[in-house]
């Protein structure tokens, strides 16, 4: 750990911002085509973020500000942990548990700031977001535990390295199809895309936690959203789609997976939050247990 690491980390953040925001912009275009319209410019997302940042804003006390800073800080820190193909800013920190728990800092910060605004819609949104987290994280983690048991590693780059060299069929997604399905369903929940986006449902709770944000706070939350999307999709790409031997390979896989998830979300309405919990604890959890037991007792697909 020296100064170069931090410089790399900073460059990584800049790169991720540019990359992910472009992908989001392109996906807005894809979504528009699905809805039979032209859609915005591909760089619209950049304009939106910078516009929000250029406006004035209001604050509801120090926790409202601090929460946003903590959220963005936590998410940026988590982004630094993620390897892009073979490139890592820091060695030995891409442990899946560190990533997923550090991600929670961001969530908590945002939740705190949202509740700190004193708006009940925001609190309802936060309560839904946390419930949603309880729903999607548990099946995913059960799956991850069985993977760690099988592969004796818990780092993202470790998982990716084990899948490389065997072609597409070497990817965990194809070696463990049940697990792959669980992972994609959970990814949809992590990304907060439909049908699991009840925590920002505009028609129900007026965009939930975002209710009171404007100006720089909103801009930072948009940044946060880009980074957290990057983290979540990257986790799945590393664990299930073989990461990338080169950064380019990783980026291509990433873009395809994200676009795929986005298209899925275009044709679904949203679950109510308790329906989402029920769904996750019925289908993906059961599948995750089945996959886990298969891995642990039969070792099918491991070697």
């Amino acid at each position: 750990m020296n100064i170069m690491n931090f410089i790399y980390a900073f460059l990584l953040l800049v790169f991720v911002f540019l990359f992910q925001t472009s992908i989001t912009g392109i996906n807005r275009k894809v979504m528009a085509r699905l809805q039979r319209r032209r859609g915005p410019k591909w760089y619209q997302q950049f304009i939106d973020i910078f516009k929000a940042m250029s406006k004035s804003s209001t604050t509801h006390g120090w926790i409202f500000d601090f929460g946003v800073i903590m959220a963005l800080g936590g998410i940026m820190a988590t982004t630094i942990l993620i390897p892009i193909g073979p490139f890592k800013a820091f060695a030995d920190v891409d442990n899946i548990f560190i990533v997923s728990y550090l991600l929670a800092v961001g969530m908590l910060g945002m939740a705190m700031s949202a509740s700190g605004s004193g708006n009940p819609w925001a609190s309802i949104g936060v309560s839904r977001a946390l419930t949603n987290m309880l729903a999607y994280d548990v099946p995913f983690m059960v799956l991850i535990v069985s993977f760690i048991y099988a592969f004796k590693t818990s780092s993202l780059s470790g998982f990716a390295a084990l899948q490389q060299g065997a072609g597409i069929l070497g990817w965990n997604f194809f070696r463990f199809p049940l697990g792959g399905i669980v992972a994609l369903i959970c990814l949809q929940g992590m990304l907060g895309k439909k049908p699991f986006d009840s925590f920002i449902a505009p028609a129900e709770i007026a965009s939930g936690p975002m209710v009171e944000y404007g100006g720089r706070h909103l801009g930072m939350l948009f940044l946060l959203h880009e980074f957290s999307t990057f983290i979540e999709v990257s986790i799945i790409v590393h664990i299930f789609f073989g990461g990338g031997a080169t950064p380019l390979e990783f980026m291509v896989k990433y873009a395809l997976l994200y676009t795929f998830m986005n298209i899925i979300s275009g044709v679904f309405p949203r679950f109510k939050i308790d329906q989402a919990v029920k769904f996750y604890y019925k289908v993906p959890l059961a599948l995750a247990f089945i996959q886990g037991l298969i891995i642990i007792f039969t070792g099918l697909g491991v070697s």
Partner: protein, 608 residues
């Protein structure tokens, strides 16, 4: 200094504090702070005593590394909580007895951890149970004390039975010697194992013995709840350690059926631990009273601790021991902040409060840090211990236990956030507009505990090295720690690096925030109201039934409390029946009895 003197000092300080309190209540309360702090210093400096044996009256003591570790946690919690005592003296019915029992139970716990024979262990155990039983009803409810005592006695009796049974077989009370014979007798070992550990299970609050925790923690005086949750519960962990570490459980059960390499007897208890995590989490999520909420969270965390201790391996055991420490300080800090708030607002109900952050910012920060630690989020101490436990479970492939661990871990975000949103954040009710922040004396322990949470999250080596020594002393591989890098089979964790990265991210984020245009401060009620007008902050504060949709999913769950409630009613009825049959003054009942006995004699043809 010799620990012989330490125990004597602690007992005498209890008496002294009683006498001081008799003359001046406030002074007596301050004396508890002084005495417990002195004990803490003596214990901390007397680390070189480890390995010493000594006896006092007829009781034998042995200073072990693990005993020292547990004692340190216990005295730390007691001394920190003692800072709150002066503010509760007028609210407690018998303040001088409270001060006496407070220090006396502390002395007894230290004695318990250093006990060299089973009788000493049991005596001190009973002393703690009795003294704490007398403290609990000084709060709100006598029922709580009854339930607490009943459950504790179930545990004590089972343990006493185990002790006597072991003595009858081996002929010695010495902890290290008494259990040795069990290694070759798996069946007896199973029996002893289950009876002996019962006391531990009741004390940690493992399902189905968890019902006393919310009652006792929720109703005990606000100053004693931190001790109950942070301190006394950990005695159970010590018993659990004795049951697997000293009682050669793994050796004895080596021939029995195993599940993923764990003997089924131990696995069974781990499942109980897992159930405690799930039940504790679910129940904590729906509590409206913050103290009960933290009490249920203690149930859940007790599950983690039990699972880790039962594993008796390199990683999980270390994680569990560390979690005992982290949970103790975090839970105590959380309870202390609640006590500080209750001191001003006279309530601990989330739905009656709100917006406290604007009045008590220090309490808020302390609470925030402690719940982040409880939830296991970096860079706090709780993260390291949970990481170790989860890594250990993953390396063994125990997915069902791991499921519970993750459920509890993510569920804890839910329940720790509930007081945060409902009590500290949100709208400030006009009736709390004029309350004052907590006093300086109250802030001292809260800040100390919170900074310890942060410190051991970033530099866990100071704790893990001690834990490594404990592991070496009981004959398992010590946790691998090099600098601040913790290495397990499946991964490495460098907390320094994580903290540095977190700090780096935070700084960048802060810089972005500062560069952007300034914000304008507006009031809390100047908020989005769908463009309608509202002027009542109480009506615009979402705190009641915070997780209503989720709570509804398990509203009709089967409950141990309900079952036991029914059981209690039946027992009472039986008691009335027995009473009327045996202790009646009516002649007819007596005649009935005489006839019944006579009939039995005739039928049986027994010679009397």
């Amino acid at each position: 200094m010799d620990f012989n003197a330490l125990i004597l000092f602690m007992v005498f300080s209890a008496v002294l504090s009683y006498l001081v309190s008799k003359s001046n209540i406030k002074l007596g309360a301050y004396s508890t702070i002084l005495f417990s702090l002195i004990s803490l210093i003596i214990l901390f400096l007397g680390r070189n005593n480890i390995g010493n044996e000594f006896s006092l009256l007829y009781m034998n003591f042995r200073v072990t590394a693990i005993g020292w570790y547990f004692s340190l946690i216990m005295i730390l919690i007691y001394s920190m909580t003692a800072f709150f005592n002066p503010y509760w003296m007028e609210k407690i019915l018998y303040p001088s007895s409270y001060n006496f029992l407070y220090l006396f139970s502390l002395a007894a716990t230290v004695g318990l951890f250093f006990a060299a024979d089973l009788i000493t262990l049991f005596i001190f155990w009973e002393v703690v149970v009795w003294s704490s039983t007398f403290i609990v009803p000084l709060g709100k409810s006598r029922k709580a004390a009854v339930v607490y005592f009943t459950i504790s006695s179930i545990g004590s009796m089972a343990t006493l039975f185990a002790i006597m049974f072991v003595y009858s077989k081996s002929g010695t009370f010495d902890i290290n010697e008494a259990f040795k014979f069990l290694a070759s007798e798996p069946l007896t070992a199973t029996f002893v194992f289950f009876t002996f550990i019962t006391a531990g299970l009741t004390k940690i609050g493992i399902f189905p013995f968890h019902i006393w925790l919310p009652l006792a923690h929720g109703n005990a005086p606000h100053t004693f709840s931190p001790v109950l949750s942070g301190g006394l519960v950990k005695m159970g962990a010590f018993i659990a350690y004795l049951s697997v570490g000293i009682l050669p459980a793994y050796k004895a059960f080596s021939t029995s059926m195993t599940i993923m390499g764990i003997p089924f007897q131990i696995y069974l208890l781990m499942v109980l631990g897992a159930i405690s995590i799930v039940v504790g989490t679910l129940m904590a999520i729906k509590q409206d009273d913050v103290k009960k909420l933290i009490a249920y969270s203690s149930v859940a965390n007790g599950g983690y601790i039990l699972i880790g201790i039962l594993m008796m391996d390199q990683v999980t055991f270390a994680g569990s021991l560390m979690h005992i420490f982290n949970h103790a300080i975090a839970s105590a800090a959380a309870f202390l902040t609640i006590a500080a708030i209750a001191h001003r607002t006279k309530t601990t109900k989330i739905s009656e409060l709100g917006g406290m952050i604007h009045k008590m910012p220090v309490s808020y920060v302390v609470y925030l840090i402690s719940i982040i630690s409880l939830a296991g989020i970096p860079p706090m101490g709780g993260f390291v211990s949970k990481w170790l436990i989860v890594q250990g479970l993953a390396s063994k492939g125990l997915i069902f236990i791991a499921f519970a661990a993750f459920f509890g871990s993510i569920g804890s975000f839910l329940y720790v956030f509930r007081p945060l949103a409902g009590l500290f954040l949100g709208q400030l009710a006009p009736k709390y507009e004029n309350i004052k922040p907590s006093t300086l004396v109250m802030k001292i322990p809260m800040v100390i505990l919170a900074s310890m949470s942060v410190f051991f999250g970033i530099f866990p080596k100071y704790l893990l090295e001690t834990i490594g020594e404990i592991q070496t002393s009981i004959g398992i591989d010590p946790i691998m720690i090099n600098g601040d890098t913790i290495t397990t089979i499946n991964g490495v964790l460098n907390t320094n690096k994580v903290a540095a990265i977190f700090g780096f991210g935070f700084v960048i984020s802060l810089m972005i925030f500062l560069v952007l245009p300034k914000s304008r401060k507006v009031g809390l009620m100047d908020t989005y109201t769908s463009a309608e007008f509202i002027y009542t902050p109480e009506l615009y504060h979402y705190a009641n039934s915070f997780y209503a949709p989720f709570e509804r999913l398990y509203k009709n769950h089967p409950s141990v409390e309900k079952f036991l409630g029914k059981f209690a009613v039946k027992t009472e009825e039986l008691g009335i029946l027995v009473n009327s049959l045996f202790f009646s003054h009516k002649p007819s009942v007596t005649v009935l009895w005489v006839m019944a006995i006579a009939t039995l004699i005739f039928l049986g043809g027994v010679d009397i």
